[in-house]
């Protein structure tokens, strides 16, 4: 297992991170405009000293090499816009917000999605199947930027149950989490139903029933592990989506997370902040994918032996 993790780390995670950093670096630097050009005109002398201070006067390749070396040490550099703060500390402030939002959304998606999928799979083609699956279809067809405002309209403005914006009280977490998680809940419900239907029709389920096991035990012990595998492999991309998908939800509900930082940084040409945030998100995605791979290997013994 350790070998498996190390191999994934060195042959997939590191190259991916390298590609992300490189692509972002050159994309940012090749774009027209610079961090200080939009601000009030600065004298050539000040400009030169600023460039020297941030190392922008060196050839691009040298800057690139230096940046990679810093990233490797975990230093994401200074921010141009927020002169007093480093990129590290900006991310350290915004990421917990995005992470919390993502985790609540993930919790909502897993509980409702997998729950609905299991319920639907037990009695196919009855109303306990059709009901959850209709809801799942609706969840897939209602994107977050439609669902979020609609939820706000209903529960925030019309009923007045929750605050319309902000990230302070526990109640502020509910609508953003549902908005962000609904689509994933819908996909999970469909994947879980399909996976469970597949497993429940297998011979070994008949063996389990022939042993006189209760339906609960048949489902929990014998069917769930295999039936949830498709859902677990979906969780990798899902977690990645939950992190990058916070852009819209953060802007709808005005939540001070990582998504807002990236959009603002891009507008301001805040080079190191853009780079740092993207590299950091890439890092988080890779870690999540690795965790999901490990979970999958733990659940499926055949996978474990093969690799």
């Amino acid at each position: 297992m350790l070998k498996f993790i190390l191999r994934r780390l060195f042959f997939e995670a590191l190259p991916t991170l390298f590609v992300i950093a490189t692509l972002t670096f050159f994309m940012v630097r090749l774009a027209p405009g610079g961090p200080f050009s939009r601000e009030k005109q600065v004298s050539a002398e000040v400009q030169r000293r600023l460039d020297a201070y941030y190392g922008l006067d060196k050839p691009l390749v040298v800057q690139y090499g230096r940046y990679l070396a810093n990233v490797a040490r975990g230093d994401l550099g200074p921010s141009f816009k927020h002169a007093t703060e480093s990129v590290n500390s900006l991310i350290a402030r915004a990421f917990p917000v995005s992470l919390e939002l993502g985790l609540w959304a993930l919790l909502f998606a897993i509980v409702t999605g997998i729950g609905a999928g299991i319920v639907a799979s037990l009695r196919p083609n009855t109303w306990t199947d059709a009901g959850p699956m209709t809801l799942a279809m609706a969840g897939i067809c209602l994107p977050s930027f439609v669902l979020g405002p609609l939820l706000l309209l209903l529960f925030g403005l019309t009923l007045g149950w929750v605050n319309v914006a902000g990230w302070n009280t526990a109640g502020d977490r509910i609508l953003p989490a549902i908005t962000l998680g609904a689509g994933y809940a819908a996909y999970l419900a469909r994947l879980t139903r399909a996976g469970m239907r597949d497993i429940l029709s297998q011979d070994f389920i008949r063996t389990a029933r022939a042993k006189g096991l209760s339906p609960t035990r048949v489902i929990l012990v014998h069917a769930l592990k295999g039936g949830l595998l498709p859902s677990v492999s979906f969780l990798g991309p899902a977690v990645a989506g939950l992190i990058t998908g916070t852009f819209v939800v953060e802007s709808i509900f005005q939540i001070p997370g990582l998504g807002q930082i990236i959009v603002n940084a891009a507008f301001n040409r805040d080079y190191f902040l853009i780079l740092g945030a993207v590299v950091f998100i890439g890092f988080v995605m890779i870690v999540m994918n690795l965790l999901v791979d490990v979970a999958q290997a733990l659940m499926n013994p055949r996978l474990r032996l093969g690799e």
């Binding site: 011979d203 022939a210 006189g212 012990v221």
Partner: protein
């Protein structure tokens, strides 16, 4: 008192195209420690008969149309689900055809093997593990304690069937139903598995129902045999007697098509025609269209006439046939002209 007494069992599958009568008015019984073979080609209803007794058929589409199955005085077909579960895996156990798919690939052998003990006997995990190791050793698997921690995909087909047998017999059931347990295995492994079932039966005195499409396999493992065709029981007899003198045209045809059972010097013959469409069974005896001995009354026979009945001369003991000509005119009818 018989251990299992099945009377007038009928099972139908209700499909969009009509009702498939998979089992038609089948009756048989089994004494404790007795061994019955059920023989028939695929689709003859032999598996459905046993699965319906254990409540393992998907319902719908399957439906039990009639019958009773007394096990130990309790009617399996009318028992509440929870009560039936108390009997399955404890007093009645089943082995399935394909050992590659019948074990759960996601669970360790130990989990699956100890499950009946934990659920039915209330054993502790440690005690169950010990007994599981002993059972695994008992079916001829070396190094059982280490093997218990492995997963099914680490076993060969024959080994998996041994595991299935160990799992089925670990609670010392009084009835073991083996549904074509050797069909999916290599010929050399088949013999080992048959030998194993025989040994276990001898040691524990378990009654066995052995389902197969291969008459030759029956020899040595079953005391009596019931032959099924198109959902009906067409003949039952003690095993040696049926090889000596079949008393139903279908059995006779079956014997002539089995290499190891046919008489030396006679040519091997296949049965002409194909089994009837289960949605449109022919009237009267379902074998009539393929039967070389059929006469007009055969296609007019009623269901009651086609049930197993005693044979006149030379009525050997405990022989029953559904052939109305044999029942009326005796065994000599089946002599080739």
């Amino acid at each position: 008192m018989p251990l299992l007494n099945v009377q007038d069992l009928s099972v139908g599958f209700h499909t969009r195209h009509g009702v498939v009568r998979a089992v038609n008015h089948v009756s048989f019984s089994l004494e404790p420690g007795d061994s019955l073979g059920i023989v028939g080609e695929s689709g003859s209803g032999k598996s459905v008969t046993c699965l319906s007794l254990l409540g393992l058929l998907p319902m719908p589409p399957a439906r039990i149309e009639s019958g009773a199955a007394a096990f130990d005085g309790q009617d399996l077909l009318r028992l509440p689900a929870a009560k039936l579960r108390g009997i399955l895996g404890r007093d009645i156990a089943m082995i399935f055809q394909d050992p590659m798919t019948s074990l759960n690939p996601y669970l360790r052998i130990a989990t699956q093997l100890t499950e009946p003990l934990l659920v039915h006997k209330g054993l502790s995990r440690a005690a169950a593990f010990k007994q599981a190791a002993a059972a695994l050793g008992g079916v001829g698997i070396a190094d059982p304690e280490a093997r218990l921690n492995q997963y099914p995909h680490e076993f060969s087909g024959g080994m998996r069937q041994r595991v299935m047998i160990a799992m089925a017999t670990i609670t010392r059931p009084r009835l073991l139903i083996a549904d074509e347990p050797t069909t999916a295995l290599d010929v050399t492994v088949q013999a080992q598995i048959l030998e194993l079932i025989k040994t276990l039966r001898r040691e524990h005195g378990t009654a066995v129902i052995f389902i197969t499409h291969n008459l030759a396999v029956i020899n040595g493992i079953a005391d009596r045999v019931m032959v099924m065709y198109a959902g009906q029981a067409v003949e039952t007899a003690p095993v040696p007697a049926i090889f000596h003198q079949p008393l139903h045209p279908y059995t006779a045809a079956l014997l002539r098509s089995v290499p190891s059972a046919h008489k030396p010097g006679e040519p091997l013959q296949s049965i002409l025609g194909t089994p009837p469409d289960p949605l449109r069974l022919p009237p009267g005896c379902p074998f009539t269209p393929r039967c070389p001995f059929a006469q007009e009354p055969c296609s007019l026979a009623t269901t009651a006439e086609l049930e197993l009945g005693p044979v006149p001369s030379p009525a050997p003991d405990r022989r029953l046939t559904a052939c109305i000509r044999v029942k009326k005119e005796g065994a000599d009818v089946l002599r080739p002209a």
